[in-house]
Structures are given as structure tokens and as C-alpha cells.
């Protein structure tokens, strides 16, 4: 042991010097005529992957000096790899981003490029989803743009509504009517609401939407800016209203153990009457159904989340989100130009053909599906558009919302417990 120690300490010294040295060498990209753009997207679905590839090909043809290297990653894998390269200080030039807190965190660390100089003017004005665009920047800076944006709402099966004696063309508009419709469906032996709460996020939509209806924009901003708290009245009430619904037992058997795939499958097979979900829901329903969504096609309808009587929120407020691309700090000007190309009216219109709800006004007329048109109208007319909590809030708080709401569904947390569990994380993360 005594012989061992001196040798060992020398080794440790060498290693320390080496690791210090490694940390400080940063490769610097030299400016060249030949430009390579690295692009990470999560379009793993076949037609989306092909769509992005076609845009890259078209751009490279028009600009022979540009090479676009695409990396396609699955959603969760993308998030993990992105964190790794970000911590190494080496972001891709263009990458998937949902905006909000996570993107701002990158901005504070200087890992994304401010594209405000390029964006201001014509490009910025072309967006109809202005609220969405705002999530890609703060304090006059922008780090990316959204290329699709939607809203969460209630998808319902008109045939099952009719079977339960409900008017399929007049879906419930208020919370009272909604609870009555749930009861009617239940009495008719139909599972009223599909839910895969094992994944947590599908259920948190319910609580967040109720909080939006009850407290409106002000309650959320107060809690976020720490003028208020997530234990304020509207957030506790959101839990109480949701508890009313849970008490009716409207969900499928064992829903705490089911996932989103199960939830969509039940809708696609016509085994449940409603689901609260984003604009992507129809294609997922069909993907997870047993026979190509036969039971749901032609029967699917959409209505906005019911209004809560006496709530402070505007009935037109929506919860939503979408996808965008952010620009990494090492990106050349060509990358920003390519991003402008992606969100051109022509390319956005091509995207609308494959269920991408465009963010650019000039491309909106390309949408033919009536449900998507309804969602688009709700999105564009919303006086207040709330981004998904788990994107807008610091990750830990978003996660706390999902976990706590799952506890409410499970029956182990009371509405007050849910609010205070969220507030615990929020006070830790948001208080300066």
C-alpha cells in the first residue's frame, strides 16, 4: 500500500491536468464557402420524414454550397441526446424545440442563436400563430420559430353520442352539461372518456384546462411570476371540479395502468366516447385501432373544453402547443435562411397535406379536414393561449403537475394536496 500511494497520486495529478486541458480546447468552426447545416428533427413517422427530406433536398439544389445533414431521433431519445450535446456546448444548427422554459434555459446559457435581426419584418408578420411565436423568444430576442401549432380539445364519437340519446351535433358547452353527458353515456353502458393515465400527461390536460377556465391567464401568470401561488383558489378548485368527474367513474377499466396508446386505441375501436387530446389525435387513434379505425372514421367530432360557470377564464382560451425549430449558437447564416425556407407559405401548405397544422397565415387555406379547420379557428381566435405546463414551466414543476394530478386520479391526493405539491416545486424553482 505504501508503494502504491505515491504512484497513484502522480497518476491522479496527470489525469487532473489532462482533464483540465481537455475542457478548454474548443474547436472553432472556420468560415468557408462550403456550409454544412446539422439538423435534428423527430419526424419518425414515415410521411413526415419524407417531407423534411424533400425540403432539405430542394434547398440544397437551390444552394449548391450548402449541405444539410439530417439526424432523425425518436422523441425521448432526442431530448436525452440534446441535453448531452448542450452540456458539451455543441448544439446542432437546427433542432426540434417546443419553446418556453426549456428553450429559455438554453438561451441563458448562450447555446442558441438570436435570430431577431433576420426575423423582424416580413418573416415575422407571416405567422398567424403569433402567441406560439412568442414562446420562441423573450425580451425582444428570438431563438427559433414554430412550424406547427394546435390546441387541445375534446374529440368525440358522434355515433356513441347518438346511441346514448345525446344530440351529436350539439356537444356539451358547459361543465354541468358535460357531466350530464358523461352520466348519460355511462347509463347507456358506454365508457364515456378514454384515458391512459399511466403516462400521466394525458390526464394532466384535464386539470390544466380546468385551471385555465377557472383562473384564466391572470391566475397562471400570478403564480408563475410569484405574485400568487399554485395554492391559490382556482388551482384548488380545478382539482375539486376534476374530482367531480372522477367520482362519476367515467374512465376505462384499470386506466391508471394504461398508456396513451391504449387511450387512442379505445377511441379508434369505438369503445369510448371522448378523449381530451391535441390535434394529432385522429391519426394516433387510427394507428392504435384494431381495423384501421373503421369504428371512428366518419363519426369523429371535436368541441372545445367546456366552460365552467363563474370561472375567470375567457371561454375562448385554449391550452395548446406544437413544434418548432430552434437555431443553435454555432449556426451559420445559411441555417437561418433554411429555417425561413421551411416556414415559407409554399412549404407550409405542402405540410398541411400531411396533417401539419401550419403556423403561417398564407398556408392555412391548404387545410381541408373540417376538424383541423375548427381547431385552427380556435387557435387563431384564442385571446389567451396557454402552452403545455411541462414545456412552459421549468421541467421539475411540469413534472410535479403530471405526478400530482395522477395522484388525484388514483385517489391518493386531495385537490388541496395536488395544489400544494405543485406549489412546493414551484416555490423551489421559481423563487429567486
Amino acid at each position: 500500500m505504501k508503494k502504491f500511494l505515491p504512484v497513484f497520486s502522480v497518476v491522479l495529478a496527470i489525469v487532473t491536468i489532462l482533464s483540465l486541458g481537455l475542457g478548454s480546447t474548443q474547436p472553432k468552426a472556420a468560415a468557408q464557402d462550403q456550409v454544412t447545416i446539422t439538423w435534428w428533427h423527430i419526424g419518425t413517422v414515415e410521411d413526415q420524414g419524407a417531407y423534411w427530406q424533400s425540403l432539405a433536398d430542394a434547398y440544397m439544389e437551390a444552394n449548391p454550397n450548402v449541405t444539410i445533414e439530417i439526424t432523425i431521433l425518436e422523441n425521448e431519445a432526442f431530448k436525452e441526446r440534446l441535453v448531452t450535446v448542450m452540456q458539451a456546448g455543441d448544439p446542432p444548427d437546427i433542432f426540434q424545440s417546443w419553446g418556453g422554459g426549456v428553450l429559455w434555459q438554453f438561451a441563458e446559457a448562450g447555446l442558441v442563436r438570436n435570430i431577431a435581426p433576420e426575423l423582424e419584418g416580413e418573416w415575422k408578420d407571416s405567422f398567424s400563430a403569433q402567441a406560439a411565436l412568442e414562446l420562441y423568444g423573450q425580451d425582444g430576442e428570438y431563438y427559433g420559430v414554430p412550424w406547427t401549432w394546435g390546441a387541445v380539445g375534446m374529440f368525440y364519437n358522434k355515433a356513441l353520442f347518438a346511441e346514448a340519446g345525446l344530440d351529436p351535433e350539439a356537444p356539451p358547452a358547459t361543465w354541468e352539461e358535460f357531466l350530464a353527458a358523461v352520466q348519460a353515456l355511462k347509463d347507456a353502458g358506454i365508457t364515456p372518456i378514454s384515458l391512459g393515465e399511466g403516462d400521466k400527461w394525458p390526464g394532466h390536460f384535464w386539470w390544466v384546462y380546468l385551471a385555465i377556465r377557472l383562473g384564466g391567464e391572470q391566475a397562471f401568470l400570478d403564480a408563475y411570476n410569484r405574485d400568487g401561488a399554485f395554492t391559490d383558489e382556482p388551482f384548488v378548485q380545478a382539482g375539486e371540479y376534476l374530482q367531480q368527474l372522477i367520482d362519476l367513474e367515467p374512465f376505462p377499466e384499470g386506466y391508471i395502468g394504461l398508456g396513451y396508446g391504449d387511450q387512442a386505441g379505445l377511441m379508434g375501436d369505438g369503445k369510448a366516447a371522448m378523449e381530451l387530446m391535441g390535434q394529432w389525435a385522429p391519426s394516433v387513434q387510427i394507428d392504435n385501432s384494431e381495423n384501421g379505425g373503421e369504428a371512428i372514421q366518419g363519426n369523429l367530432g371535436w368541441f372545445p373544453f367546456p366552460v365552467v360557470e363563474g370561472g375567470a377564464g375567457n371561454p375562448g382560451d385554449v391550452l395548446g402547443g406544437g413544434d418548432g425549430y430552434a437555431v443553435g449558437s454555432n449556426a451559420e447564416d445559411e441555417a437561418v435562411d433554411f429555417l425561413r425556407f421551411i416556414t415559407s407559405a409554399e412549404n407550409q401548405a405542402a405540410g398541411a397535406k400531411i396533417w401539419i397544422l401550419p403556423t403561417v397565415a398564407a398556408a392555412e387555406s391548404a387545410i381541408e379536414d373540417p376538424i383541423l379547420q375548427t381547431i385552427l379557428a380556435a387557435r387563431n381566435s384564442a385571446p389567451y393561449s396557454q402552452l403545455y405546463y411541462d414545456q412552459f414551466l421549468p421541467p421539475a414543476v411540469g413534472q410535479a403537475v403530471n405526478d400530482a394530478v395522477q395522484g388525484l386520479f388514483e385517489g391518493t391526493l386531495s385537490p388541496e394536496d395536488v395544489a400544494s405539491a405543485i406549489e412546493d416545486e414551484a416555490s423551489f424553482e421559481l423563487d429567486e
Binding site: 384499470g254 398508456g259 413534472q399 395522484g407 391518493t412
Partner: protein
């Protein structure tokens, strides 16, 4: 390198003055040549990260940029107060306890059954029983998600058919059940590994000794208790060691099956807690403090067990 050489020379001079220096330097040079590369890698990829984690655990750090917010023991304080973390520690010990009391005895019984004796087709059984261990942990977890599916999963269907009046369970959605469900999967996955170790150990148990005990009038149970098991002692001590450390380090199966501690953070192990609250939330400082706790527990157990229990196995 020259600094190292000088140091080595000094040491050797001090220790052995009677022998010529050249030979000693040669000996030390050789040792250094063999030891240095390995030690360098060990230091770079094991020791430095441990030291770094200990350092990070004292900061509020999101993983980007320099360490600026020194919080002293703030992370540890918060850890101590966080209920899911306490339950994660309990669960890790719970899994460890059940592994030792259920999984290892089961593996031993099966090893005695198929590892020797006259059971027909024991080679086939041996192979079948070992199959689960061959699957990757991820595949195992995904298979069992289907088995535990609350609607028409195999578990509910099988129990429903065998036991009249059995009510379908939400195996992974019920906080009173989820840890047992998880333990069931871990047992299914890992008993084969311990069984193989026991079977290998049984090869070394001399038949003559057992025969001698029988001649002396011992019945089969007594032979097992007083001859076979004591002779398997070193194997058993090794499997206990591996099982305990495995329980603390289990991650993949638990993470996938419980979807990160569902329902509502009631089913965490230390490792899943670390990943969820340390990595996914961008709280690398906080996560490091969890890692330090996990490391300390594993190190203390490992050192203690090696010194006290495994000592005699090394001495042989």
C-alpha cells in the same frame, strides 16, 4: 514521466539500500508500465467522476455553464425532506430483502432440482429456466407490461381462470401492489443467474462426502443442511453480495414498468429517483447528491461485506 521516474527512484533507494539500484528501477519500471494505463483509465473514468459528483452535489446547477450557486448541504437537506426519496430508499431495501429471502432460496431449490439428481429432462428444464436471464432488461420490462396489462393482460386472465371470483388487478397502477409486481419481474429475470452460479458451485461439492453422511445415517435433509449447503458457502456469499448490489443498482426494468415511479411517485428505487429528479429535471447538482448517497450506501456495504464476510473466501 521523468518526475515519476525520479519519485520511484527515490522510494526504491530509501527502501532497499543493499541492492543495486538498476534492478529495482527495472522492476518498478515494469510495474509502472503494466499498472499505469489501467490506473489512468480507472482514475479518469471512475475516480474523477466520483469526485466531480461530490463537488456538483454542493451546488444548485442545471448542467449548463459554470458552477456558481454554492448551496452547501442544501441539496442533501432537500433530499432528506423529500418523501419520494425516503420511500425510494425503503423500496431499494425492500427489493433487497425480498431478493435475499425469496429469490435466492428459489434459485437454490431449482439448482438442486435441475443441477444434479435423476430428474428426467433436467437439461431442458435448465435451459428453459435460464432463458429469462438472456433477455435484455428492456425487453423483459416490455414483455411484462403486456402481462400486467389491467384489461386483458396474461396475469389477470391466468389468475381469473385459475381462481374463481378473482378480480382483475391494476398490477402497476395500485400503490399497494406495484412493488410486489416489480419484484415478481426482477425475480423472473434474475433467478436464473443465481441458479447457474449455484449449479456451478454444486459441481465442486464432493459426492463422497455426501455419501459418507448418508452411510452415517443422515437423511437427505440433513445431508443438505450439514454437508451440501456449507460446502456451497462461498457461492452463497457471492450471490448475496451480487444480489444486494443488484437491488440497489436496478434501473431499467423499474423505470419502464413503473413509468418513472407511477402512480404518483410511489414506486421509486434510488436509481429511478435519481434519473427522474436529477437528470430529467435538469437538476444535476441535486441528482449528484442522490448519486453520492447511493454510492456511499453501496461502498459501505461493499467494503463491510468484503472485509467481514468474503474475507475467508479470499484467504483460501
Amino acid at each position: 514521466m521523468s518526475a515519476l521516474g525520479a519519485q520511484v527512484r527515490t522510494i526504491t533507494r530509501q527502501r532497499d539500500k543493499t541492492h543495486p539500484r538498476r534492478i529495482h528501477f527495472g522492476k518498478w519500471g515494469t510495474i509502472s508500465l503494466f499498472v499505469l494505463p489501467g490506473m489512468l483509465l480507472f482514475a479518469l473514468f471512475v475516480l474523477v467522476p466520483i469526485a466531480k459528483a461530490a463537488q456538483y452535489s454542493l451546488y444548485d446547477w442545471d448542467g449548463f455553464g459554470p458552477l456558481t450557486e454554492y448551496v452547501k448541504d442544501g441539496n442533501y437537506q432537500r433530499l432528506y425532506d423529500h418523501k419520494p426519496f425516503r420511500s425510494a430508499i425503503n423500496h431499494s431495501f425492500f427489493i433487497m430483502f425480498l431478493s435475499l429471502t425469496v429469490q435466492l432460496p428459489l434459485a437454490m431449490m431449482l439448482a438442486l432440482l435441475v443441477g444434479r439428481g435423476k430428474l428426467r429432462g433436467r437439461k431442458i428444464f435448465r435451459m428453459i429456466l435460464f432463458v429469462p436471464f438472456v433477455f435484455s432488461e428492456i425487453i423483459t420490462a416490455i414483455i411484462w407490461m403486456y402481462v400486467y396489462h389491467p384489461g386483458e393482460g396474461l396475469a389477470n386472465v391466468a389468475f381469473g381462470t385459475l381462481i374463481p371470483g378473482f378480480e382483475g388487478q391494476t398490477w402497476l397502477g395500485d400503490r399497494d401492489l406495484v412493488m410486489y409486481s416489480l419484484f415478481g419481474v426482477l425475480t423472473w429475470k434474475f433467478f436464473g443467474f443465481h441458479m447457474i452460479l449455484y449449479m456451478a458451485g454444486l459441481q465442486g461439492v464432493s459426492k463422497e462426502l455426501e455419501e459418507a453422511a448418508r452411510v452415517d445415517g443422515a437423511n437427505e435433509l440433513q445431508v443438505l443442511r450439514y454437508v451440501t449447503l456449507p460446502l456451497l458457502g462461498s457461492t452463497i456469499r457471492l450471490t448475496i453480495y451480487l444480489s444486494v448490489l443488484g437491488s440497489f443498482q436496478q434501473f431499467a426494468i423499474a423505470w419502464i414498468l413503473t413509468r418513472g415511479g407511477s402512480p404518483a411517485n410511489s414506486s421509486h428505487l434510488i436509481s429511478t429517483y435519481l434519473y427522474k429528479f436529477g437528470i430529467k429535471t435538469f437538476r444535476l447538482g441535486y441528482g449528484s447528491s442522490v448519486a453520492v448517497v447511493l454510492f456511499t450506501i453501496s461502498l459501505l456495504f461493499s467494503l463491510g461485506y468484503q472485509r467481514i464476510v468474503l474475507r475467508r473466501d479470499y484467504a483460501d
